[in-house]
Each structure stands twice: as structure tokens, then as C-alpha cells.
């Protein structure tokens, strides 16, 4: 009889082993090498690595986001826009967690959950759609900017549903709209020379979100009392993606793990059977912001210094605030997951009548191993910049040489990069570039070229 029970227990091990073998690595592990290639400007190699990540089902969409970034800096805004549109639609579909994926995540880890993008990523996706479109066609940029506002409003409404008053401030801060979205709509409306009221409304919104940005106040003043530009001139907008943006790493949450360990020891002591001890720490994602190596870009035209780009949106701070607002839910899921796993082992012991010390120890060990295979969900749009900065300058019609110089503590770090731009009378010309540090990634994108 004793041998029969042991035989039953031994037959249950393969099942436990199957559970143990689920999901040991996290997205951050896959991301390190292709990110490094991207920041070394080895774009073709980075593209190949990210393309290979697309084969992994749970990494596919996140790899697509990074591939869109690579296409953009390689001077392929049309392809980037196409990819981002598909992702936008897919993320909208995936916003509602499937019941199956949500339930399964309590037996594995958060990586099983469907990834529909962080809220700030959904907004930035629409912003980059607008910027990509501006670089080649411009016809849909206004529509994308409107969609951005709609999405911001929708996400904010969802976030404040059933939220207590004491959490309201934190949520308001995390979900405040992006100033650059209003700015983009304002500049598009101002260009028509017939919708200064729209431009004023949007610039006012941008100023209220970014009150320290002096150039925004100039834009507002011009929209209220001035004209778009003088005759014989056009307007150049330099959109600079500056610095390395946030990404997530996996960290161990020891405080909660210690509390759970005490709790499960109490349960083991008072209950008829033991539960697996919390030896493996709970792992959660943490937002990391790389150190800043440049502050902004200095802009010169035909050798004349114009000024520095001004920060419109701080993506790093946004990511941190959104993460802080979401942390309680992440922790709650992590604790609930451990409880589910311990309860499963407890139920299995009961079912298999594993009351002998050896059997109980074996099942506890399996439980610990099961818990140890958890990984944090570090999926994120890893190639975002730290900030999006803008400079507007009115330029006479014709061909000019534009020079962009990385600046840190008001000092130019390098000689900068030169590019020719053609200015059209009474129209906007856009330049988009990515400076994660003192050297640009890829090439400059210039509209009308």
C-alpha cells in the first residue's frame, strides 16, 4: 500500500516538472544585445536581432515597436507608419485581457498575460504615427494627433474609474496628457493661417502641462496676436528625440517575499499539511532610466546660432509615474499568484495523500521550484528616447544648411552634424532626428525631400 502511494506520487512528478519548466527568462534578457547594437548605430544587425525576436509569440509585438523605431531612423517613415498602424490596432484589440491568459498567468507569471502596451506607450505610438506621417506625406498627421487626444482621454477615464480620492492625485499625475500632442496639433492648425483659435487652445493646453518651457509661451503669444510667418519665409520645426529612454529590468521584492515567508510558515504550523516556503523572492519589473549624456541639441542655420531645442515631453518621468501608479496591481497579482501556487500544491498533497515527510518534502520542493521559475514582465518599448524636444524657427525661403550639435551643461559636446534643408514659403518643414548621446542614430528625416 505504501509503495502504491509512492508510485502515484512519482507519476505526478512529470506534471509538476512541466509546470516548473514554463517561462524562466524575461524580455530584458532578450533585449540587451539588440539594444546595444541599435545604440552603436549598427542598425542592420539590430534589425536582424529584433526580427528574430518576432518569432517568440510573447515578444513579437514588443519587437515590432522597436523595429518601427529602427525603420524611422533608417529614413523609412512610410514603413514605420505602416507597422505602427498595425500595432495601434492590435493593441486596441488586446486591451481587454482574455480570460484564458489572465487565469493562466496565476499559474505561471505575468509574461503569460497579453501585452497591450503601457498606457504611455499607446499615446507615444500615436505621436510617432503623426511624426512618421509628417515626414513623408503629412496628410494624416492631424488625424493621428486627434486620435492621440482621444486615447489620452479614454485612458484617463479608465484609470480614474473606481479610484479612491487619496490615489486620485497620483493617477492624475501619471495620466496627464502629453504636451507634445497638443503642440503638434497647435502647429498643424497654425499652419493653415485660418485656425488661430485652435492653435491658441492647443498651445494653452501645452503650456499648462509644461509651464517651464519658454518657447511654448512664445508660440502661444504669436498665435494670439501675431501671424504664422512673414511673407517670403517658411517655418522649420526640429523634432529631436534626445537621450536613452526608459526600459524595465527584473528586481526581487524582498520585503513582500519575507512577509509571505512568515505567513506560509504560520499556515504550515497551524494547518494539517505544510505549504511550500517562500524561498524564491517575488520578482517584479522596475523602470530604469539610463544616465543622461546630453541635455538638448543646439541648432544653427547657415552658421548662425539659433538656440537649443526645448523639452516638450519627458518620457522617462512619464514611464516612472505610470509604473508607480501600476505597482500596487503588479504586487497584488504577484502575491495572488504565490497564493494560488501554494494552494495548488496543498490541494495536490491532499489529493495524493502525501502526508509522509518524504512525500511532503518532495512536493514542497516542487512548489519552491515552481515559484522560482517566475519572471517579471519586463516587456516594454525599449528604444524610446528619454525626451522629445522641439525648436521652431522662421527661415527665409530657399536652401539652407542646418547644423545640430549635442549640448550638455550649456557646452557643445561635438562639432555636430550638418544637413541641407529646403524651406518652402508659408509652409512647415520638419526635421526628425534621434540623439541618444553625442552621436545621432541613423539619418535625419526631412519632410519634402
Amino acid at each position: 500500500m505504501h509503495w502504491k502511494r509512492l508510485a502515484i506520487q512519482l507519476r505526478s512528478w512529470p506534471l509538476l516538472l512541466c509546470a516548473v519548466l514554463c517561462g524562466c527568462s524575461t524580455h530584458a534578457d532578450f533585449l540587451q544585445q539588440p539594444r546595444d547594437l541599435f545604440y552603436r548605430n549598427e542598425l542592420s544587425e539590430a534589425e536582424k536581432k529584433f526580427t528574430s525576436l518576432q518569432r517568440k509569440k510573447r515578444e513579437a509585438d514588443v519587437a515590432e515597436l522597436d523595429l518601427a523605431m529602427i525603420e524611422l531612423v533608417q529614413g523609412r517613415p512610410k514603413e514605420a507608419e505602416k507597422r505602427l498602424k498595425v500595432l495601434r490596432d492590435r493593441f486596441d484589440e488586446l486591451e481587454k485581457q482574455s480570460i484564458a491568459a489572465g487565469t493562466l498567468s496565476y499559474f505561471t507569471d505575468d509574461q503569460t498575460r497579453t501585452y497591450a502596451g503601457e498606457d504611455y506607450e499607446k499615446i507615444l505610438l500615436r505621436l510617432l504615427l503623426a511624426l512618421s506621417n509628417l515626414m513623408h506625406d503629412g496628410g494624416d498627421a492631424e488625424a493621428y494627433s486627434l486620435q492621440m487626444h482621444e486615447k489620452q482621454e479614454q485612458l484617463f477615464q479608465k484609470a480614474v474609474e473606481d479610484i479612491s480620492e487619496d490615489k486620485r492625485t497620483q493617477v492624475n499625475q501619471a495620466y496627464r496628457p502629453l504636451a507634445v500632442g497638443y503642440y503638434l496639433r497647435g502647429l498643424l492648425r497654425e499652419q493653415t493661417m485660418n485656425n488661430y483659435d485652435d492653435a491658441v487652445r492647443n498651445y494653452e493646453a501645452a503650456v499648462s502641462l509644461n509651464p517651464l518651457c519658454e518657447p511654448l509661451r512664445w508660440d502661444l503669444e504669436r498665435a494670439k496676436h501675431g501671424v504664422y510667418c512673414s511673407p517670403g519665409h517658411g517655418v522649420l520645426y526640429v523634432f529631436a528625440m534626445v537621450g536613452r529612454g526608459p526600459h524595465k529590468i527584473e528586481v526581487a521584492e524582498y520585503a513582500t517575499s519575507d512577509a509571505l515567508l512568515i505567513a506560509d510558515r504560520i499556515v504550515s504550523a497551524v494547518g494539517p499539511m505544510s505549504v511550500p516556503p517562500t524561498l524564491a523572492p517575488i520578482k517584479i519589473p522596475k523602470v530604469v532610466i539610463p544616465q543622461q549624456s546630453i541635455d538638448c541639441l543646439g541648432v544653427s542655420i547657415d552658421g548662425t546660432r539659433i538656440g537649443p531645442t526645448a523639452s516638450m515631453t519627458d518620457i522617462a518621468t512619464l514611464a516612472e509615474q505610470t509604473y508607480d501608479a501600476a505597482l500596487p496591481k503588479i504586487m497584488a497579482r504577484a502575491v495572488a499568484r504565490r497564493v494560488v501556487k501554494k494552494a495548488s500544491i496543498y490541494a495536490a498533497k491532499d489529493q495524493l495523500a502525501a502526508t509522509t515527510p518524504l512525500a511532503s518534502l518532495a512536493m514542497d520542493a516542487a512548489g519552491v521550484a515552481w515559484e522560482a521559475t517566475e519572471s517579471a514582465d519586463t516587456r516594454c518599448w525599449g528604444l524610446l528616447p528619454r525626451e522629445i524636444q522641439v525648436l521652431r524657427v522662421e527661415v527665409p525661403v530657399g536652401r539652407h544648411q542646418l547644423q545640430l550639435t549635442p549640448v550638455l551643461d550649456s557646452r557643445s559636446m561635438t562639432k555636430g552634424v550638418n544637413e541641407n534643408v529646403e524651406i518652402t514659403a508659408g509652409r512647415n518643414t520638419y526635421v526628425l532626428c534621434y540623439f541618444p548621446d553625442t552621436h545621432p542614430i541613423g539619418e535625419f528625416l526631412i519632410s519634402h525631400r
Binding site: K96, S98, I99, M193, D198
Partner: protein, 214 residues
């Protein structure tokens, strides 16, 4: 579990028949507000101005009635809400109503934009006589003489009562005679209530509703 997975993320749509009522926006004004506002304001304005003017000939040399030309500058939004994609829609609807009338014709929006581009004038500065003359001269040079400048302004007034809000929308159409400088205007108004619950409409707008701000 299967049902939950199968239905997730789907969206459904249908084409709304022309005579069917518009959906009522729950958070801001939409077609249910703008369509009747435009209809009423444009009808009032055109019927008030359709008579003969002493400064404009009513007939051409061959006896055909001359239409008065309106240069519709644009829609100015001074309301509490962003118009989003409705702004251009409102412009097009007003423009279409003008063209449908027998008494008035409208200058193409592209011509208007081109003239604003050439003169670099702000739309709200066209009231100044010198600016108006310059703008008119540019349009005449383009073969588009005009008799009137028209502005549309959307305003709103908001009344709050606890969790309920009433917003009054007014669309004002202002017509300025470029020859005499005389301005006339007509307005249309719609009131709309926003409530946190379905009972809010009945609670605030029944015949026995309290007139104090409780």
C-alpha cells in the same frame, strides 16, 4: 473561458439611415447639437439677407438675378469643448447650405486660404478697413469678387449642479458687407444636459424640479 476569448476585441458597426436620429454624445457636443444649430443659424441669416441691397445690383444686364457672394472665412471655436474633427465638418456644412440657396454663392475655401496665405492676414484682423480692402483686392485679382465676409463663432455657457451639467451652445453667423462695412448676425442656440446617471435628466428637468441649487 472560450466565449470570453472569442468575443474579445470585436467591434460592430452599421450604416445609419438619413432619417434616423443622431447618437447623443455623452461627454461633449456632437452631430446632435451641430446639425440643428447650423440649419437654424444659416436659414435665419440667409432669409434675413435675401432681400435686395441698395449698394448691390439685383439683376445682371441680361435680366438674370445676381447672386450675392459670400466669403466664408471660417469657424471660430470659443466654446469650452474641443471640436476635433467637427470643425471642418461644420465649415463644409455651412458652405454647402450657402451654395444651396438661390440668392447667395460662396467663394471656394481654397481661394480663401490662398488669399489669407498671400496677405498673411489673421482672419480676425479682416475687420480693419485697410486689411479688408487688401483681402478683397487679392480675391478680385483671382477672379473672386465678394460682397460679404462671413464668420461663424461657436460659444458655450456651462451651468453645473452637483453631478449634472447643462451646456448652452450658440452658433453665431456674422455677415459683414464689404462695401458698407455694415454687419448683421444671426444666432441659434441648443441646450444640452450631461448627467452621471440615467435618472439625472428626469431629476433636473421634470416639471417639479427644484429651482434652488441643491
Amino acid at each position: 473561458m472560450v466565449l470570453g476569448t472569442g468575443c474579445r476585441g470585436y467591434q460592430f458597426a452599421h450604416v445609419i439611415k438619413p432619417d434616423a436620429a443622431n447618437m447623443v454624445g455623452s461627454h461633449k457636443a456632437g452631430a446632435e447639437v451641430f446639425d440643428p444649430l447650423i440649419d437654424e443659424a444659416v436659414s435665419k441669416l440667409l432669409s434675413a439677407e435675401c432681400g435686395p441691397s441698395p449698394d448691390m445690383p439685383a439683376m445682371a444686364a441680361d435680366g438674370t438675378p445676381l447672386k450675392k457672394t459670400i466669403c466664408f472665412i471660417g469657424v471660430e471655436n470659443k466654446s469650452a469643448e474641443d471640436l476635433g474633427d467637427f470643425k471642418d465638418q461644420i465649415y463644409q456644412q455651412i458652405d454647402a447650405r450657402i451654395r444651396e440657396s438661390n440668392t447667395f454663392s460662396a467663394i471656394s475655401r481654397r481661394m480663401v486660404d490662398a488669399a489669407l496665405y498671400e496677405t498673411r492676414l489673421r482672419p480676425d484682423s479682416l475687420y480693419i478697413p485697410d486689411n479688408m480692402r487688401l483681402f478683397t483686392a487679392v480675391l478680385e485679382r483671382q477672379g473672386q469678387p465678394m460682397d460679404y465676409l462671413m464668420y461663424a463663432t461657436l460659444t458655450s455657457g456651462t451651468t453645473k449642479r452637483n453631478n449634472n451639467t447643462q451646456r448652452d451652445y450658440t452658433l453665431t453667423l456674422e455677415l459683414v458687407n464689404v462695401n458698407t462695412g455694415v454687419a448683421t448676425s444671426q444666432a441659434a442656440e441648443i441646450r444640452k444636459g450631461y448627467h452621471k446617471s440615467r435618472a439625472g435628466a428626469w431629476w433636473n428637468y421634470n416639471p417639479f424640479a427644484s429651482t434652488s441649487g441643491e
